[in-house]
Symmetry: C2
Subunit: 327 residues, 2 copies
């Protein structure tokens, strides 16, 4: 059973929701270690009458701080202590809902990178019709062609381990499907992707999302971040419009029908909920690292811990290392 | 009544669907001039028993051609002849479903740019909960900060003319809402946008889409293109998932209810249909230019002609010119 170190101090709702999320994850094949200020963490544990190991950390990194500087100066920050537990083999992975930049810096400095990876990337699974891995979702606003090639190899491993896609189709996010489209970045990355040990399907567009055209989308962190948030906003907006279309006029002749179908709409909403996966992988660190939205509730945290535990149990990092060595 | 020149030869379904779209637009306060090879155009007109003026053009520009070179070499291309009609005041605007690059080049070389505009941008109205103007949607893959400031002024005029938003909120698409976020492009554009004659609301994110946070989103053409196609794909995907959730199991106890609510879902789908607006404005040309998807059917073309006629009738280009002169 994988053992996950949790940065209990990171996130808008820390430590309470983080600790409650960790406890909930205990039911899903994960062991947890809570990292942070012991007193408030133990207070939550005692509230719910559950025990879990706590590793003290005296500092925490706030959302506005410069991540690299903060990681350098605050040696005892909860996110750094969690990373060191992973590096020392005392945990199989870590989860943080704190500053993404701090988690990235803690992973790079505290755990290190997989050989062959210049820049770790944030990989998210989009819970759409045919779930798709998208990276980078925001770790690197500007990338080089070789970074996209590394993302491609890592994303393919993630799609096969988490989504069960055999030999997943990897696409380069672009503004047209023909070869030669895009900025210099895409034009130069194309050749590298063709040579990478993946099934590269060429340029793909935003409107291929959720179709079998591509199982993995690689792009720079700016575009990936916009894409993910756009999917979220659109899914939520269309959901609200559908609800309004169904219930808006309160026509009694249809309200019984609306009531009958509503549970199915609710089920769909749950499936599209961005908290369903809970977090995103920081791929490229030499250890399992899952980061969550700052606003994560216990539901998201529990799912993120489960995600990390699965990745660790299935040896995702080792598989990525093997695949990159082939390239 | 505005008179719109239509490139009858551009688009996958040209000239038939283009001509039929133009005819359909006659019912919506538009006059049309069909530009292209007279024989096939007149054949469609005679099929449906409608007459409309035809201006001959002996050449056409295919989708794969280099736009700037093609515009230079093919002086009598249908898209260029349409642009010259606008420049000469013989038409109040133009519509093309052919190569976007060719329409852009025809507009810049044939009609010219509004003073103060370095690069025209493609502005699209997203038919989401609260419709939003997004630009650039793909004319310029890489832009400079001053281009974003020009897009902002033009987009605000478009939002106020088409969507009736008074003093529309203009946002800079970014990966976080705090000032100082983003690439160098966004950081440098921020100050220019603050100084522009618009109501600048700062950085906005993909998940603000369709909310009152921003009525106009400015970004580079690569990101804008990805965003638009992502919205389309997500809306379509969620729609399909909703249909499947409702009808998938064929449970007879709910099928009557599903049948009752289905017309409302269909109405919503029609509202979200990307063909509903039919086309996008090429803002920055010194004339009304609307471009359509290459795959446009008569429905999209008719809506695009109506869009162009409305823009021309409401003096959008002149208003943009005035606003830019203020900045």
């Amino acid at each position: 059973m994988a053992r996950i170190a949790i940065d209990a101090m990171g996130g808008d709702l820390a430590p309470r929701e983080i600790v409650l999320g960790a406890i909930a994850a205990l039911e899903h094949d994960a062991e947890v270690v809570l990292v942070g200020d012991p007193a408030p963490i133990r207070a939550v544990l005692s509230d719910v009458g559950v025990d879990a190991p706590v590793v003290p950390a005296t500092e925490l990194i706030a959302m506005g701080e410069d991540p690299a500087a903060a990681i350098r100066e605050k040696k005892d920050a909860s996110v750094s202590v969690a990373a060191r537990l992973v590096a020392a083999g005392e945990a199989d992975g870590m989860v943080s809902a704190g500053s993404t930049g701090a988690a990235l810096a803690a992973a790079v400095f505290g755990i290190g990178r997989i050989p062959g990876v210049s820049r770790p990337g944030i990989a998210t699974i989009l819970p759409i019709e045919r779930p798709t891995v998208v990276l980078d979702a925001g770790a690197n606003l500007a990338v080089k062609p070789e970074h996209l090639a590394q993302f491609a190899v890592m994303g393919a491993v993630m799609a096969s381990i988490y989504l069960g896609y055999e030999d997943p189709a990897v696409g380069l996010l672009n503004i047209g499907s023909e070869a030669g489209k895009g900025r210099d970045l895409e034009k130069e990355a194309f050749a590298l992707l063709e040579a990478a040990p993946i099934r590269f399907v060429g340029n793909v567009e935003g409107n291929d999302l959720g179709t079998p055209v591509a199982d993995v989308l690689v792009t720079d962190g700016f575009t990936g971040n916009v894409l993910l948030k756009t999917v979220e906003a659109t899914a939520r907006g269309v959901g609200r419009m559908a609800l309004e279309a169904l219930t808006g006029d309160g026509d009694p002749s249809t309200s019984a029908a609306v009531e009958t179908v509503m549970p199915r709409i609710a089920e769909l909403q749950a499936r599209l909920d961005p908290e369903a996966y809970g977090g995103a992988h920081l791929l490229g660190a030499r250890g399992t690292v899952v980061i969550c939205h700052g606003s994560s509730t216990r539901v998201a945290v529990a799912n993120a811990v489960t995600l990390a535990a699965e990745g660790a149990a299935r040896g995702m990092v080792a598989t990525i290392e093997e695949q990159l060595a082939r390239g």
